[in-house]
Symmetry: C2
Subunit: 460 residues, 2 copies
């Protein structure tokens, strides 16, 4: 029963799996026709098994993987076949006794050299299967050539059956509900960025939750927390992204993607996303750290507004960036606006930290909160890097430029970018000097009268 | 030339690669004998190609991978062969026209079902190749059985050649310079922990480097920094660790490792190590952040001693833990002593932070340093977790208990674990109260006279 449930779940999670299984069944049944249908069998004979073998071995989940294996198999077979015939011809010059020794030496040499070449990272990534087939075919041809005289006929039969098998796979995987590695990579990158966006948008609500006042529902809290944890999969997505990018580079033009779509740039975006996920992983360590110390709670309340803004604005920026990749349009100016908002909130936070009057000299209590501030500031930098990489992708893949009809407002309430210095010298008593950068819009500043005055003193 | 250089480098980096290539060549040449040697050829005929095919396909770098593929291939072939003969017999009941239809249906059904089963993560991890061979053999047997009458003889020939090929591979990979997946996993885990230890031991020297006084040699600085970055590979080691652990579970007893060695515990240690590497990744972001603000430099000098101690003591603890895995002895008490030293340094740091008189209320300048403190404190927690996991491993794998002859001294200079409170009330004037926990050794406390006095006031 539990196996049944898991099977259903597996199919429901990704219905393409069911379709893929049916496609493999179809391809195999189709090449079996070679056997059943007498005219074909008479043509190929026993060599028809190679068609079956080819289908089983090269039919992979994505089009790119199937193409990569199919082409590797084809090229490997051709090259090794030619070399094998040559080696066999050369060895025959050495007479009845010399021939097996020379052939054995060739097999040893080529097998060892090819096996070693598989350790080169580049060959490993793209041609591993081709090299395997090369060794296989070379051994088969050079060795069996020693017995079977009709080697060319055999080679012809083998090649045509492999072609039939390969063509069947490629045809079915291309034209019946194709699963594109490129599209999967595209979607994974988008969903990874969205996972980070989710986290950042939810972070403030989780972190600045004060247990004292509210009646917290344990279950909903648990659900909320575990939904935030989705970002964890981003930490370990590197290898699947890399193999998808490799397969994607074998794929022809499909849907929105051209043949030479810049898949490598996706890897770059993926690795920047992962960098950001590492930062979120450290941030996550500070959620649910209880703060009982009064000074810490006071400090936390003071940074709450800015931190919330930094986190949610960078989350929003990421969400827009994700949707810009998804729709293949250039990142709209609104993502930049959100990053600017986040930067403004950072400035605000910095001012709070710079001029913040410490109620006590107890740094210890506020250190976790200070760390959270620091990580949030770093996250904004990462988001900016992701934005840059996506802009590069936009250039490389010629994204469309679509400006949204509604552009989000700059959050003016966060933009009192001035520096508030308590002033204790001279006549001004307990008043304050407010210096405001000239070019920044000024919002309400908590009841203080503010003039943008380029460093001039305001004394009431 | 550059290809040549890279080849030499590849071989020099890991000479086992060269040996592996020669082994594959040897195995292939050996099974080619089946063809060359007439008595053998007369026995097997064309079926001898299966031996060549088996060797090429199942000979992998590690013993575990070869065994896993060999056993998968053997089991898959046997099971599918039996089922194929059964299916063929059953189909023959439906007469000349019904037979291909029934067989085609069977092939479709089994191929689709087996392909789907490959999506189960557990089957994917351990039996992926077996399922592939199952589909392959079932199709071949049920399909070719329709033509070739002598199916049992064929099956017998195929099985024995596969056995010869498989046995050759397993024999050569087991007895000629074997590369054990288990041993590799063991070494990777050890070297990953060592990389973290290197980083932590070198961190203090890099972070607390004040540009003002010294004449820094750019080159040596760069070398030092890049040698520290070795930890980065730990961030992405998950997939290779998992596949090694999978292969290791197929391996027989070898060297120090029994058949049921707890490889899963290695994965646990590996994932804790990776957690710690994520923390180091955030820590690394703060190296080389210039501090020009005076208050920051002052603050940095104040935390320098404790931070250095925390980082280098946890580094030393990790190094001992790594060597405890390496030598398969229980982690000696000295690793605990180092962790205790680090904890003591944390307490010291906390005191500095708690009672530290702030020269200004400028929190902003010191926030990066405060974050470094916070991350270092978290790293010590991670190191403790790694220690626990290694102790578990020690129990599971019955590590030897060897106490080192020389146990490291507790670093007393760091152990003035007392709390120094500035005292401004009453008669004591500008003197201080020093409260010292009773059980802690007390070292020199910068010229202040200290009595371990369980909270009693000392007033001069």
């Amino acid at each position: 029963m539990s196996v049944m449930e898991r099977t259903v779940k597996l199919g429901r999670d990704d219905p393409r799996r069911i379709i893929h299984s049916l496609k493999v069944g179809l391809a195999l049944t189709f090449v079996s026709l070679l056997y059943y249908w007498r005219p074909l069998y008479d043509g190929f004979g026993i060599a028809a098994i190679w068609a079956v073998l080819t289908v089983v071995v090269i039919f992979e989940f994505t089009v790119g993987a199937t193409l990569s294996k199919g082409l590797n198999r084809g090229l490997g077979t051709l090259l090794a076949g030619a070399l094998g015939v040559g080696a066999q011809h050369f060895a025959s010059l050495f007479g009845q006794t010399g021939e097996p020794i020379v052939l054995g030496f060739f097999v040893f040499l080529l097998a060892a050299a090819s096996t070693f070449s598989r350790f080169f990272p580049r060959i490993k990534a793209r041609y591993d299967y081709g090299v395997l087939i090369f060794i296989l075919t070379f051994s088969l041809v050079s060795v069996s050539g020693y017995r079977v005289e009709k080697i060319l006929e055999l080679a012809h039969q083998r090649l045509s059956t492999i072609l039939i098998g390969g063509a069947t796979c490629i045809f079915i995987s291309l034209f019946i509900c194709p699963v594109w590695a490129g599209e999967s990579l595209h979607n994974i990158i988008v969903s990874n960025i969205e996972k980070l966006a989710n986290y950042l948008e939810g972070f403030g609500g989780e972190y600045f939750r004060y247990e004292d006042g509210e009646n917290v529902d344990e279950d909903s809290k648990h659900n909320k927390l575990s939904s935030l944890q989705a970002y964890k999969t981003v930490l370990t997505s590197q290898s699947s992204e890399e193999s998808l990018a490799n397969f994607a580079s074998w794929e022809p033009r499909h849907g929105k993607f051209s043949f030479r779509h810049p898949w490598k740039q996706y890897l770059k975006i993926g690795s920047l996303t992962r960098q950001c996920a590492y930062q979120i992983e450290s941030l996550n360590g500070y959620i649910n750290v209880p703060t009982e110390i009064q000074v810490a709670i006071q400090f936390r309340r003071r940074i709450e507004e800015s931190c919330n803004a930094i986190s949610s604005e960078s989350g929003k920026a990421l969400r827009i960036l994700a949707s810009s990749i998804k729709t293949m349009t250039n990142p709209s100016s609104s993502s930049k606006t959100h990053i600017e908002n986040a930067t403004a909130a950072i400035d605000e936070l910095k001012n709070t930290l710079k001029t913040g009057y410490m109620e006590s000299s107890d740094l210890l209590g506020i250190i976790p909160d200070a760390t959270v501030c620091c990580i949030l500031i770093d996250i904004v930098k990462s988001v900016e890097k992701i934005l840059e990489a996506i802009e590069e992708l936009g250039v490389l893949a010629s994204f469309k430029s679509v400006e949204p009809t509604v552009s989000p407002e700059k959050s003016t309430q966060l933009l009192h970018r001035g520096i508030v210095n308590p002033l204790f010298d001279g006549e001004c008593g307990d008043h304050v000097v407010i210096m405001v950068d000239n070019e920044v819009e000024v919002g309400k500043s908590h009841g203080l009268e503010v003039k943008p005055s380029n460093g001039e003193m305001v004394c009431k």
